[in-house]
């Protein structure tokens, strides 16, 4: 795997030349038929660098048709792979990393001074000489957005079936099962384990897997942060929506378990150095719902405490949770109608959204900040396993 194509060290200027008729083979071997595993142990985003070196040679020879053709075939090749692997997280993440890296290369080596501030003198020698590829950068940026959306869709599809049981039904706090609301003990089969039951550990395992894949593939750290913010938002929305519709989980004990689960997720973010992602902030409505379940709900002071605490929940959501709240035992009282009226009166000034449930399919807009690479083109080795021996190093 480590065998490299022979090259003359002193002559290599970081460009790759190929015959026009080999473009099909290049795209097949480097894009459509490539398995990300083949490149483990090599520089992350190697296909992007190879493609840039090919573009650079076509630019060097002022062959605009070759640049057009290569970029078009590359983009169509990537789209073809994504269509074929539309449920494959690893493949989608791999092409997101590479598409973004190619986009960064086209900026870093554009000759535009704004993108060259971190370049070494050697890297400046590797800039494009003849063509301005601004319009192709826009196409690659649009493609990156499409790939990001596919990646989120795949990740959400894997996480979603776990959320309700892991966040609301599974009991990991010892002794808590004895304090479930009356009449709801051993209520549903999903609470007793079985095929559709997951614990929080399953969610964390899955997120570990996503994180490891994206890091190994050299996906930009800023994009990884945005992926987890999006996924945490979805966990928040699905969990809160279920809480708002299910009496059996609106209890003190679920509030306690939920708060514990959220703290585990926060701990996971810290452990992976993802706390600046804004992921925890997206969980705020759920954090407040968990606290609402645990607060006292009797006196005027209790009502004031609830109103000052639950700023990320709408009045409608607070009232719904209070209405659904189920006492633990015969010693705990239901929330009284007058208490709910007190809350409503205190919150009447708020301009809340009208809908009760959160839009769990909502997507935050994604940003791809420019991330230049410190790598120099002439240091890149092409592994023999890529079967690209028809590329001549120039």
């Amino acid at each position: 795997r480590q065998v490299t194509v022979q090259r003359k060290e002193k002559d290599f200027q970081g460009m790759l030349e190929y015959h026009k008729e080999d473009e099909v083979l290049l795209i097949r071997n480097l894009v459509t038929d490539l398995k990300p595993q083949m490149l483990s142990g090599t520089v992350p985003c190697l296909p992007a660098y190879i493609l840039y070196m090919c573009i650079r040679h076509a630019d060097y020879t002022s062959d605009d048709l070759k640049v057009h053709s290569l970029l078009t075939s590359t983009i169509n090749g990537i789209k073809k792979v994504l269509k074929k692997h539309n449920d494959d997280f690893e493949m989608t993440s791999f092409w997101l990393s590479n598409t973004c890296r190619l986009l960064h290369c086209l900026k870093q080596y554009s000759g535009d001074e704004g993108f060259m501030t971190q370049n070494t003198a050697k890297q400046n020698e590797h800039c494009l000489k003849n063509f301005d590829l601004t319009e192709y950068r826009q196409v690659l940026s649009d493609l990156s957005i499409q790939i990001y959306q596919q990646l989120i869709k795949i990740a959400e599809g894997l996480l979603q079936p776990m959320i309700v049981s892991a966040m609301l039904e599974n009991e990991s706090i010892q002794g808590l099962s004895g304090v479930k609301p009356m009449g709801y003990r051993k209520r549903s089969s999903s609470m007793e384990g079985g095929e559709n039951s997951y614990c929080l550990e399953a969610i964390i395992r899955q997120m570990n897997s996503f994180h490891t894949v994206m890091c190994d593939q050299g996906l930009d750290p800023e994009i990884i942060l945005q992926v987890f913010k999006q996924l945490f938002y979805m966990i928040n929305a699905v969990t809160l929506n279920n809480l708002l519709l299910r009496k059996d989980v609106c209890s003190w004990s679920t509030g306690m378990q939920l708060r514990y689960n959220i703290s585990q997720l926060e701990e996971w973010l810290r452990g992976r150095n993802l706390q600046q992602s804004g992921a925890v902030e997206t969980m705020e409505p759920l954090i407040q719902a968990a606290q609402l379940l645990q607060l006292k709900k009797k006196t005027q002071e209790d009502a004031e405490a609830i109103c000052s605490l639950c700023t990320s929940l709408s009045t409608q959501q607070i009232v719904k949770i209070l209405n659904l709240y189920t006492p633990l035992n015969e010693f705990e009282e239901r929330v009284t109608v007058s208490f709910i009226r007190t809350i409503q009166a205190q919150l009447q000034e708020r301009s809340d959204p009208q809908q009760l449930l959160l839009d769990f399919k909502h997507m935050f807009p994604v940003l791809f900040p420019f991330n230049p690479s410190s790598l120099t083109m002439d240091s890149i080795h092409i592994p023999a396993c890529l079967n690209l021996e028809f590329l001549n190093e120039v």
Binding site: N76, L128, N130, D132
Partner: protein
């Protein structure tokens, strides 16, 4: 001066949707 870089020629690119359209019609044409 001779050090000043030559202006680069802007290569016009189709949009992503146009590219897809071209690609689809090419696929349809080929047997």
């Amino acid at each position: 001066s001779s050090q000043r870089p030559r202006p680069r020629v802007l290569l016009k690119a189709p949009t992503l949707a146009e590219m897809e359209e071209m690609n689809t019609s090419e696929e349809e044409e080929s047997p």
